[in-house]
């Protein structure tokens, strides 16, 4: 609950961050090097804080918060969007990456989905979403029954299931979907973005409850980065908008209903 955490990280020379396996939030190059918008920002800020490097380990979304709580990571930088319940479970930094929600459907959008409510209304429709992810909750909150929300372990699996007709829609943030579609190079797919009625979410670096001092230090450097324009330089090549992140705050996002 004090500065000791940062001192500790400085002493060991690196911070352990959890990332997802979901381009463009995170990318793993053929040589195994971790990049992507979220880790790049974290790396830069930690450098400025005096922590030489980050050690990234890829984790399932569902395993991130328990891992953080169990002290396996010092911070999660993985496109873990701020939501009130999550704000209660972890200590977020100010917003970093913002994105709207998108749905991937078959060409021509045969079922005419525009929102999660549309999926709820069509009793034969199934939607795929990452387990424990924002999209899963949005779908559930929109009234899609549990058994029609298919928990998909990762983006490629979701894409595959959609192509194979196992699900009717696959929902992820816009940029993730775009990246998937680009790689799949499949003319029979169509992206619906943004999903109507779904808010724009922003993630932040998530720290363990109790590490607020570290979080605050992080926020200071993040603010400087945003101001100097370097922030935009890091994230915009990946397709994210710096303006979006700067237009909102943690307090707003955590309070949102």
């Amino acid at each position: 609950a004090d500065d000791s955490k940062l001192e500790q990280l400085k002493a060991q020379g690196f911070a352990r961050v959890a990332i997802a396996n979901e381009p463009p939030y995170t990318a793993v190059a053929a040589d195994g090097k971790v990049s992507g918008a979220a880790p790049d920002v974290a790396r830069e800020i930690f450098k400025r804080l005096g922590v030489g490097d980050i050690v990234a380990s890829i984790s399932e979304y569902g395993a991130m918060i328990p891992g953080l709580q169990a002290g396996r990571f010092d911070v999660v930088t993985a496109g873990l969007f701020m939501k009130p319940e999550r704000c209660a479970a972890v200590a977020y930094s100010e917003p970093v990456l913002c994105d709207a929600e998108a749905m991937l459907v078959k060409k021509g959008n045969p079922k005419g989905f525009k929102s999660y409510e549309d999926v709820a209304k069509d009793t034969s429709a199934t939607i795929g979403a990452p387990g424990g992810g924002t999209e899963e909750k949005l779908a559930l909150n929109a009234g899609v029954p549990r058994e029609r929300v298919i928990v998909v372990p990762d983006g490629q699996s979701g894409l595959k299931m959609l192509q194979d007709g196992r699900i009717d829609a696959y929902s992820l943030p816009v940029l993730s979907i775009n990246d998937l579609v680009k790689k799949a190079n499949d003319p029979n797919l169509e992206v619906i973005a943004p999903v109507q009625g779904a808010p724009v979410y922003c993630d932040g670096a998530a720290f363990k409850k109790g590490d607020e001092a570290l979080r605050d230090a992080y926020d200071v450097e993040l603010a400087k980065l945003k101001k100097s324009g370097e922030f935009a330089k890091i994230i915009e090549p990946y397709g994210f908008s710096a303006a979006a992140a700067m237009s909102t705050t943690r307090d707003k996002l955590c309070a949102a209903k």
Partner: protein, 219 residues
């Protein structure tokens, strides 16, 4: 697929982690197997009960649950392990419980007459175990130990769940980075199979070497 060779490198890194896990897990499993296997045959009730509880618990719950527990719940009790340690611990304890039953079965499979010969020659309990029973039982255990090692190798694939970059995990990474499913999965299936073949080959040659004494002239 120009980058395929690069991603193959990733998979090979994963193979190293898998091998490391298998080796360290096997060592732990072997230790636990002998402790619990012999413990289960002990004259002392407490030892028997401890060994039985260990064996039944680890054979009874799924390896997944054990892994999640070791990884996510133990730290809450103040015991924090690296993913590798957690993986080795869960795999070793789990497979060790199965192997303990192998140890017990092998010891019991040695005929009563061998124990009686030990008594008639006035060997103590431990002397008989050490010089007469265990050397024979070892040969009985060996083939099943080989199978256990292969089970352990296969079980390593679940450590991908606790973000340990083993073969399966790297295949998933490669899959999401390249968008190709067939290549990484086929590759790791072949690698797993080759590793399994190496294990069974190793165990078989060890077995041959040990069995040689039983019908050949000792030199």
């Amino acid at each position: 697929m120009t980058q395929w060779s690069g991603y193959l490198g990733l998979i090979l890194q994963g193979a190293l982690v898998t091998i490391e896990l298998t080796l360290m897990g096997s060592v732990l499993a072997l230790i636990m197997a002998f402790l619990a296997g012999i413990g289960r045959l002990s004259r002392f009730f407490v030892l028997r009960a401890l060994a039985t509880a260990y064996i039944e618990f680890f054979r009874g719950t799924s390896i997944f649950v054990q892994l999640f527990w070791v990884y996510f719940v133990l730290p809450l009790a103040g015991i924090s392990l690296t993913p590798l340690q957690a993986g080795v611990l869960a795999l070793g304890l789990n497979v060790g419980a199965y192997a303990a039953e192998v140890v017990r079965g092998a010891i019991q499979s040695i005929g009563r007459e061998q124990y009686e010969a030990c008594i008639a020659l006035n060997l103590g309990r431990w002397q008989g175990m050490r010089h007469v029973i265990l050397p024979q039982a070892l040969l009985v255990m060996l083939p099943t130990f080989g199978n256990n090692a292969i089970e352990l190798l296969k079980a390593t694939s679940v450590v991908s769940l606790i973000s340990l970059a083993d073969l399966t995990f790297q295949a998933q990474v490669v899959r999401s980075q390249t968008g190709n499913t067939l290549m990484p999965f086929t590759t790791i299936l072949v690698i797993y199979f080759v590793l399994a073949l190496i294990i069974s080959w190793g165990v078989r040659s060890l077995e041959r070497r040990m069995a040689r004494g039983l019908d050949g002239v000792r030199v």
